[in-house]
């Protein structure tokens, strides 16, 4: 979404800017320039010649006359280039030709003439030297150059370090330019610039790098310029040491000798490291004149103006007045010293230190900006009627003389104040060692206002004994219950007698349920047999003996020994006798009698469960 919006904004911007800028650009003077990709060429090699027309895009093809020994290989190939820099449109139309020389010697090419709107424009001329094929002389390792292709890299990339003046005053601004020239179309990569050491200067970078084209010895170069503002700190003869530059050139080795294109096309070619250094630059730095130096001069060199504002101008005794002093101009803004308030007039004021803020407004052609000084003063008596005058002195290197800016005293109205000023900010410890900070006032720390942790701490859990006791007792009960359950489980697994005794009732109920089904099926013999078996098995389980050892003959004695009551034994006897009778007299007993026997059996089992 954001990309779409920015694209639309850019489009609208281009629509509005380009036509206006075009009109501006076209109205400029037309300039014709010829350039070659190299001015020393071997017989049989190719040379690329470009006739460039700047400032017009609707011209005819310029007339070009070449020596006879140069064979036209291609061209003209027309290209148009439009660049917009700072709302200024530059139009460039290039007519490119390819030639191949056949004879050695020195040749002058040009000038080229162009007729445009009734005017004739003439270009520069260039010299070209055609030589025999010679061994390769560049820094390229010939062993690695297996293709046999020879190239001259030394002329393709070079650097320059210059300054705008050779002589300057101490603290005066000097603009240093580092220029990297590389032949147009030369693909370079991994640029690494090592700036010249400026230990005798204060250095401020000037704007972004500038890129433009320049013709040197007939060859068109792309130029990258890095500029720095230098402010010399010492006087005498100073040398700016060389700056160095490293990069890699990507060379596409020519595979097809008959190709009309340049050898250097970039991309996927071999990388040749190139390192260049500039010449050192010598400067003469003059000291500032001692004659006529103002007393309040603090080292500002350049051109400055000063504005002063005091607010408020109607105050009570002890109330603060903020004095804002704005010094703006060209020069080293950072090092501008504090302006001077007339000391005699400051007796009736309590003054605090200056606070300064630097703003650089322009870094285009030099450092321009402003330094804002804020100072708080407090009138100490009603007699104070003016803020004293302010002065600021600087040295103008162009006029070679000192200048002093002054601001007249500012009238103020001071009323009496009834309240005493309790806070004393006097600097009693002015003689303290540097780095020590004196506490001016002692005060309590501010209030807390964290609503996130603002909850009722009065209802803490330790104030609720009931909940606390529940929290501590319930887990203990759970532990006790778990221990009991686990013990039961272990007994059931390890003690067979216990397990049989515990499960006896469950087994009996299961068998009684089977008996009830047999009752429904009207199968008396099986019904009574099941009942008798269930009772005897239940007793065997409870006594932990084999079912076979419990018979109708011995069972009553065993139960009697175990303390079973006589009523239960009697009930059991009747029940077992009924079962025996029922088994062997099938068909003679009614269903009601069978149900009665079943109920009796259930009761007997229940009683035995309790008593065994």
């Amino acid at each position: 979404m954001m990309r779409k919006v920015s694209t639309i904004i850019m489009f609208v911007f281009m629509l509005s800017v380009i036509p206006a800028a075009y009109a501006k650009g076209v109205s400029k003077e037309v300039k014709v320039v010829i350039s070659v990709d190299k001015n020393r060429v071997e017989i049989g090699s190719h040379i690329r010649l470009t006739v460039g027309v700047e400032g017009a895009f609707d011209t005819d093809i310029p007339e070009l006359s070449m020596p006879e020994s140069f064979s036209l290989m291609f061209g003209p190939s027309v290209s148009t280039q439009t660049t917009i820099i700072n709302n200024v449109v530059k139009v460039f139309r290039g007519f490119m030709y390819g030639f191949s020389p056949r004879e050695k010697g020195r040749f002058e090419i040009g000038p080229v003439t162009l007729e445009y709107k009734g005017k004739t424009y003439t270009s520069n001329s260039i010299n070209i030297e055609v030589v025999e094929r010679t061994p390769f002389e560049s820094i390229i390792d010939e062993k690695s150059d297996t293709s046999g292709q020879r190239v001259d890299i030394n002329k393709m990339v070079f650097v320059e370090l210059t300054t705008d003046k050779a002589e300057a005053y101490i603290y005066e601004e000097i603009v240093q330019s580092f220029k990297l020239y590389f032949q147009k179309g030369l693909p370079i990569d991994d640029l690494d610039y090592v700036a010249a050491s400026t230990k005798s200067f204060l250095a401020e970078k000037l704007g972004d790098e500038r890129r433009y084209e320049e013709v040197r010895d007939g060859i068109l170069y792309n130029v990258i310029e890095l500029r720095t503002a230098l402010f010399p700190l010492v006087s005498g003869k100073i040398e700016i040491p060389p700056a160095s530059f490293k990069c890699n050139i990507i060379i596409q080795q020519q595979r097809n000798r008959g190709s009309l294109f340049d050898e250097f096309m970039g991309g996927g070619g071999r990388r040749y490291p190139v390192e260049r250094s500039t010449e050192p630059v010598k400067l003469v730095i003059k000291p500032l004149p001692i004659v006529d130096r103002p007393e309040d001069f603090t080292g500002a060199v350049g051109k400055y103006t000063m504005d002063v504002l005091a607010k408020p101008t109607k105050v009570k005794v002890g109330d603060p007045i903020t004095l804002t002093i704005n010094i703006r101009g060209e020069g080293n803004i950072q090092t501008i010293g504090e302006p001077l308030l007339a000391p005699d007039g400051m007796k009736d004021f309590k003054a605090y230190d200056f606070e300064a803020k630097v703003t650089i407004t322009d870094r285009g052609y030099g450092i321009k900006g402003e330094k804002l000084f804020n100072k708080v003063i407090e009138p100490q008596s009603e007699d104070s009627d003016v803020i004293p005058g302010i002065s600021f002195s600087y040295f103008d290197p162009e006029l070679e003389q000192y200048k002093t800016l002054t601001y007249a005293p500012i009238p103020i109205e001071v009323e009496s104040s009834e309240i005493e000023i309790p806070i004393h900010l006097s600097v009693d410890g002015a003689g303290m060692a540097k780095g020590q900070v004196k506490i001016l006032t002692k005060d309590i720390l501010p209030i807390m206002s964290d609503l996130y942790s603002f909850d009722n701490q009065g209802s803490a859990i330790y104030k609720r004994p009931f909940i606390l006791s529940i929290i501590f007792i319930i887990p203990i009960l759970i532990v006790v219950a778990c221990i009991y359950v686990q013990r039961q489980r272990e007994l059931l697994h390890t003690d067979v007698g216990y397990a049989r005794k515990k499960r006896a009732m469950a087994h009996a109920q299961k068998h009684l349920s089977n008996a009830r089904e047999l009752l429904q099926l009207d199968n008396p013999s099986e019904f009574y047999a099941t009942l008798a078996r269930t009772i005897l098995k239940h007793i065997a389980d409870k006594l932990n003996v084999t079912p076979a050892s419990v018979t109708s003959d011995n069972i009553y004695d065993i139960l009697e020994e175990r303390g079973v009551s006589n009523d239960v034994i009697k009930e059991l006897r009747q029940c077992l006798e009924s079962c025996d009778y029922g088994r062997f007299s099938s068909g003679q007993l009614s269903k009601a009698q069978m149900e009665s026997t079943l109920d009796t059996s259930e009761q007997v089992i229940m009683h035995l469960e309790k008593q065994l």
Partner: protein, 285 residues
Amino acid sequence: MRQKNILIIFILSFVFLFAGSYLADAFARDDQADTFFRANKEYSAGQKAMAERKKEDAVGKFEQAVSLYEQLLESGFINGQIYYNLGNAYYRLGAPGKAIMYYRRAEELLPRDADIKANINLLKRDFVDGETFGQKPEILKVACFWYFYLNLSEITSVTIYIYLALIASILSIIFLRQQWIRKIIIIFASCFLVLVISLGLKAYNQSVEMGVVIADESNIRYGPGAEYEPRFKIHEGAEVRIEEKKDKWYKVYVFVDVEDVHDDEGKKETESKTGWIPESEIGEI
């Protein structure tokens, strides 16, 4: 089926009970937070008026802030921030004794807060009797950090968590029978023991009644009444331990050094440092 319904009704009753209680707390908290916010605003306005040297306005604002903070405390809402802010407000109103009293209360609830300690130290510097009770060595504070950096409520919560972890590990060993769980049980049991002891100590310390002298100067008398002779004088901000209460008189033990001019060798120091002070001249921590 009937048993299942009873269980569901029982659980739902508990849920409603807790949800209702929580919501009631939340609504009440909103009201308290609003009052707290207004009180803070009054305090800030007072601070601003003080900076502008409008003394009367400042006093009015600080008094308003005090009123709102005390209103919060009277409603049963207790928080360390309220005590601390109240301490600040009283300090601004020129009552450092009361300020110390509220800072001490705040310290109990917010033991890790450095601002409270800083303010107490700042106020103590200006007191004539600025001795502080219960100062512990730093090594002890590091070794028993949980005791000094957690309040009573926090120690209780941690103890409960450790107790539940101990129970869980006991349950684990009942069913799992793994030997390594025994080591965990030992660790939790040790932590639980230490925490229970800490809890006990903390609860005991907080149960000890402490107080601060809030009058500019106060006579410590031999007995509970103005008819008894003064034994010595102490000044605003002095911290005391309250040992007994009788007819609006407190028997206190003072932490300041008392010089016994009679130099009675048989008399214990404790005896010479105790005396009676009117209830109105003491603020209970």
